[in-house]
């Protein structure tokens, strides 16, 4: 297996197959479960530069970040499905997933709050002077929240090591950034606070990885916050808040005639590049088979588990002392 395959493609594939397996059992999910399909390039790019001690402030759409960073799929399925044995003991569902082992301590589903929390994490990192950074993840919709403007100002004033990553899945418009943002471009908003900002096509994983890497390096070097606009396109299944099931991604379309190719799919784009560089489809299929099996095993184990125990509902309201 090529070294580079493990940098972006395999973490993306883990995330993709995790969500696809979840959607195959969508009937067992209570409530909405936003998935990260189409945005895995951003997650893999962050996973590539994340170091122990860094923190991630995620939002309601978080599966891809967890899986790309190596979070256990069975534990995550248990939590999403509200089953016994979930690490958050049935309190989270999809939109509040955490994994302290990869620096995800609290996940807010309130639009914009992940940005404010991420700034605080950056403050904690700066005070410890250990070179750790905070990644704050948010969608383009968060750019109209007041707390985001306040947080940009605060992070810039205090020169905090925060990488603001806006995963935009809205169509850019001609005269203005999106249908609900009157600024011409999203990056103009952080730039008004003198936060260096980059835009990158997140359907091309290597482009977004380059932008994330540069922003992270600058934040680690003590140059304050940085902003990255990761431009993705809406995955068709995300048209509604409860995502629709789509057939599992066929990796084979990335080779040969490329018939049925979706040029906005970051997973297929990265695979095509790998194939051009000499990775063989057989190797990819083998890795894929393993990942699909892992996800299937994990999902089945979670689906077979009983519901999280109701008697524990009153625990963890406050610390016992």
């Amino acid at each position: 297996m090529s070294e580079s395959m493990h940098e972006l493609f395999v973490p993306m594939l883990r995330a993709r197959r995790f969500d696809e397996r979840l959607l195959a059992s969508a009937d067992s999910v209570n409530g909405p479960s936003p998935v990260g399909i189409g945005q895995e390039g951003v997650a893999a790019a962050i996973a590539l530069v994340r170091r122990p001690g860094d923190t991630l402030s995620l939002n309601h759409r978080n599966h891809h970040h967890l899986l790309a960073n190596g979070t256990d799929p069975e534990q995550t399925y248990r939590e999403i499905l509200g089953r016994d044995g979930g690490p958050q003991r049935g309190r989270a569902g999809t939109i509040h997933l955490v994994d302290p082992s990869i620096g995800v301590f609290h996940t807010s589903a309130m639009v914009g709050c992940s940005v404010g929390l991420g700034v605080g994490m950056g403050l904690a990192h700066k005070r410890r002077r250990a070179g750790a950074v905070a990644f704050a993840l948010f969608g383009d919709g968060a750019m109209t929240e007041g707390v985001v403007a306040e947080s940009f100002n605060l992070a810039a004033l205090w020169q905090l090591p925060v990488i603001f990553v806006c995963e935009s899945n809205s169509e850019p418009m001609e005269e203005q950034a999106t249908a609900i943002v009157s600024a011409r471009e999203l990056r103009h908003i952080p730039e008004a606070y003198r936060i260096p900002a980059r835009s990158a096509d997140a359907t091309e994983p290597r482009l977004i990885a380059e932008a994330i890497e540069a922003a992270t390096r600058s934040a680690r070097d003590g140059k304050g916050p940085a902003f990255v606009l990761a431009q993705t396109v809406p995955w068709p299944g995300n048209a509604h808040f409860i995502p629709a099931h789509q057939p599992p991604t066929d990796l084979d379309v990335a080779q040969g005639t490329r018939e049925g190719w979706d040029s906005s799919d970051p997973l297929l784009n990265e695979l095509a590049t790998l194939l051009e560089e000499g990775t063989t489809m057989d190797t990819v299929r083998e890795v894929d088979r393993e990942i699909v099996e892992t996800m299937d095993r994990a999902a089945r184990a979670a689906l077979g588990a009983p519901e999280a125990d109701a008697s524990a509902a009153m625990e963890h309201v406050l610390a016992s002392r």
């Binding site: 955490v98 302290p100 301590f105 404010g116 994490m121 905070a134 306040e150 947080s151 100002n153 205090w158």
Partner: protein, 324 residues
């Protein structure tokens, strides 16, 4: 034991916490007032006192985020009413970190504010948000009424692994009282005055006003004064035990009656089947008026507390003559 003013006890407790825990930082533009520059806090701890912009939402969210990432934070928001700008960070984030994570994470942040009637603050600067926040699980709410209580509360909050909110009151500043060398237990109510006729349960500035009223009533009516510095979780068992010895129990509360901390404790007493007459004297259900005569007509004063106790002993149905 030392006799200190409230103001001295508060500054001493903050300084002690800063000395005991080098990880503690202060974030707040109103640090200058409650913790006092003449005590040299900003000079002595310059690198631990951060002066943020006027952005309550991001300031509180940043405080919570820093706490989640392991930083101990004391965040004075100044006036309690300002917290409404950062409400989501308190109610949605701080309160839920522990629960949502199933006990894996915590947010050890302490938010300090001046609540209640500052006098002539008018309707936008005299709120008592503790009444709203007692309905939010996951927060510890404190309302100190004496120098010993602010000492205990600052210690408890700054060593707890929970988000803690301290609802201070600007007019407590000159109150005097004995403060122990070691902080007391902030979570338990304290009997500040023994008496056998009527039990008055109060918090915050209402403790001081009740003590003054009890002094006036001495000789006629023997009032026991119970101060309850912890608003939430409510000290239900202790209040119930102490109330069991009385025929008349009056709660005095600077919050408005609907959803007040007093009404919750009253409902707990009533559910336990008490035979006692249980009433509450709260701030009237109007915004805080600017004019002082009007303000004293709506917020419980020493006069109205005294009158309420006399009225209840004489068999009045409600603690206020003009309950409407």
């Amino acid at each position: 034991m030392t006799v200190l003013t409230y103001h001295e006890a508060r500054a001493r407790a903050v300084r002690r916490a800063l000395d005991e825990n080098p990880e503690l930082i202060l974030i707040g533009s109103d640090i200058a007032f409650p913790f006092n520059p003449e005590f040299g806090l900003i000079d002595d701890y310059a690198d631990r006192v951060l002066l943020p912009p006027i952005s309550e939402f991001s300031n509180i969210a940043a405080g919570v985020g820093a706490a989640v990432a392991g930083q101990r934070v004391l965040l004075p928001v100044g006036t309690a009413s300002f917290m409404f700008h950062g409400w989501a960070a308190v109610v949605q984030e701080a309160a839920n970190v522990r629960y949502l994570s199933g006990g894996q994470s915590s947010a050890p942040i302490t938010i300090h504010m001046q609540s209640g009637a500052r006098r002539s603050g008018a309707a936008q600067h005299e709120h008592t948000p503790q009444a709203m926040l007692q309905n939010i699980p996951g927060l510890r709410l404190y309302q100190p009424g004496t120098p010993a209580e602010i000492d205990a509360i600052l210690h408890a909050s700054l060593t707890a692994n929970d988000p803690c909110l301290i609802f201070d009151q600007i007019h407590l500043i000159d109150s005097e009282g004995e403060v122990g060398d070691e902080p007391a237990d902030a979570n338990q109510p304290t009997v500040l005055r023994e008496g056998g006729d009527v039990l008055v349960v109060a918090a915050g500035l209402m403790v001081q006003r009740t003590l003054s009223a009890a002094e006036r009533l001495q000789g006629d009516i023997d009032v026991q004064v119970l101060s309850k510095p912890q608003i939430s979780p409510a000290p239900v068992d202790t209040v119930r035990e102490i109330a069991a010895g009385f025929d008349t129990v009056l709660f005095v509360d600077e919050c408005r009656a609907p959803g007040s901390p007093s009404s919750y404790l009253m409902s707990c007493l009533l559910e336990s089947g008490t035979d006692a007459t249980v009433r509450q004297l709260c701030t009237e259900f109007a915004p805080s008026p600017f004019g002082l005569a009007m303000l004293d007509a709506v917020v419980p004063t020493v006069d109205t507390i005294e009158a309420a106790v006399r009225g209840l002993v004489a068999g009045a149905a409600t603690p206020r003559k003009s309950a409407a």
